[in-house]
Amino acid sequence: MLISNKHLSLIKDEILSSKSQRAGTYFNISFSEREIVLTFAEPITLDNSEYYGIDALIKLINDKIEILTCDFSNIKHYDSYLILLINNLKELSKSKRLAINLIGVTPKMAKFIELFGKEQSAEINNIISTGFWENYFSHIGQLTLTGLTDVKLFIEFLGEIISKFFSLFIHPGKMRWKEFPFHLTKSGVNAVPIVFLIVFLIGMISGYQGAMQLRQVGADIYIADLIGISITRELAPLMTAILVAGRSGSAFAAELGTMKVSDEIDALKSMGFDHIHFLILPRIIAVMFAMPFLVMLANFAGILGGMLAALSTLELTMVGYLNEMQTALSFGDVFSGLIKSIVFGFLVSSIGCFRGLQVHGGAESVGKYTTAAVVTGVLTIIVADAIFTLIFQSLGI
């Protein structure tokens, strides 16, 4: 085959990156009728990768070319880019049906190629070759299966907790009561400032929003009804539960997860202790006990926030606001919020503990399940709140 020197030079320029003035020195190309010989001259390293592009080499290969020879005899320095380059050349030779010869490979280089240049397993190749949609639907399927398995396991876990909770009425000494005040302080007392602040602000925001609308229709006084009912029935229990999910639910998941990773839970079981009585129930009971108190405080904070907004934007007096609040609020409003708070507390804490016990492997898993504890906790609270609303409505509470 005849190729003019000018043509060869043009193709070489195309092969070698134009970015570098030194490009021409990285490898040489020589031809015979049936063979292309690439003689590498410079270090084949990741730093030099841009000078070893072989895409344009394809243009040099016509039907008569049968052999691609790569000469490495001048190469003293190389790293994992050598493996990549050889793989690319092998792929090229395979697609063009060429025989490939690697020459000038030192024993040291051969050992390096053997160590790092293993073919990918069929399994990996299969994963890569799977189509986008197949992957997409398989991922959705896997998520659905994981979700359903989690629901099943959580129901089993709830069953175990509930049965062990009721067994406490017969054997109260089974639970580690020593832990109860500690968790009550951590989940309840320590949550007071943040619960107060958040629900106070929520009350204030609702107050301002409500006041603007009510003023237009001259129904200023009904701001007390709006704030009172929305805070006691919905916002205080819901916001408190979300905050407790963020604080305590995540903390339970992280604590129990870490204990699981460091074999503490296995150690506990092996010593003849029941981890549900020892670790889980003190946490759940503490949160269930703390929640109504936190919600009472949140009710106060929300009503106070709403009042400040109302007094500053509407022509209302504090006495008028509180009198209307007294008339508007029924026992059922406050009571339904408190009942909800106990159930929310139970759900948030048991989900936190459940996620913590799901941890396996290492620290990475602790983070994963801690996040899952908060997400699942918040989602479950909102679903439970919707169910409560339907139940209370049908019962006329």
Partner: protein, 250 residues
């Protein structure tokens, strides 16, 4: 006279989902014996230990300790059996929020009628036995890895069990600390006649402490050889056994 088996493992199979980890594992552990379960990474050593100690239930088969079947026991009986043995976990398993004294006291407070003073004395005795005098008020995070293992051993000894299980006792320890832990294990065995089951792949440690060794294999999903450490090292009939005990890559 043949010694009586204290632990009887019969036809134990373990499957996780569809994945078979162990098949038909059968062996006995005799009174006063140090049995070491060895094998390459992922062969199911720790899984087997969890089945023997009742932390997990095998898919099929039986595990008896002192003649009582642990596999079909209810929670109450299982806990009663578990109180008869101690376990030293790979990562020690000490309760991070408790001091060493509280870790040991937990068992004594829960399962004995000892007074506070008596419990305190026993804590000192146990800590002293493992060379940790003066460390009773330290948290696990305040001591080294080797000391944690010793403290966990002191806790495992709290109720004077007659069986001790060890999961990779020398993992993560320097050779000198590992050797001193081996000596401690040997001394406890010799002085108290305790039966011990040790999971390990530390050949030096195995040579030091083992009365008998069983070798698990990942491909066989079971035991491929039993004998003393010396016998295993000389076993040229089975290439896998010979390679494992002479550190030869496959």
């Amino acid at each position: 006279m043949m010694k009586k088996p204290i632990i009887e493992v019969k036809d134990v199979c373990v499957k996780y989902s569809e994945n078979t980890i162990l098949e038909n594992i059968t062996f006995d552990v005799y009174e006063g014996e140090i049995l070491v379960i060895v094998g390459g990474s992922g062969c199911g050593k720790s899984v087997l230990l969890k089945q023997i100690t009742g932390l997990e239930m095998p898919t099929s088969g039986d595990v008896k300790i002192h003649g009582e079947n642990l596999t079909n026991a209810n929670d109450e009986i299982k806990r009663k059996i578990q109180k008869k043995f101690g376990i030293l976990f790979q990562s020690s398993g000490l309760f991070a929020s408790m001091t060493l004294a509280e870790n040991i006291a937990l068992l004594l407070e829960s399962f004995t009628d000892l007074t506070e003073d008596e419990i305190s004395d026993i804590i000192d005795i146990k800590l002293s036995a493992v060379g940790l005098d003066g460390y009773r008020n330290y948290l696990p995070s305040e001591i080294s890895g080797g000391m944690k293992k010793r403290a966990a051993l002191a806790r495992a000894l709290a109720l004077d069990p007659d069986i001790l299980f060890f999961d990779e006792p020398s993992s993560g320890l320097d050779p000198v600390t590992a050797a001193s832990l081996d000596n401690l294990i040997k001394n406890l065995n010799e002085s108290l006649g305790m039966t011990m089951v040790v999971v390990s792949h530390d050949l030096a440690s195995i040579g030091n402490i083992a009365h008998r060794v069983i070798l698990l294999d990942k491909e066989a999903k079971g035991i491929i050889a039993t004998g003393t450490a010396e016998e295993m090292k000389r076993n040229r009939e089975n290439e896998k056994v010979y390679n494992f005990f002479n550190r030869i890559a496959n």
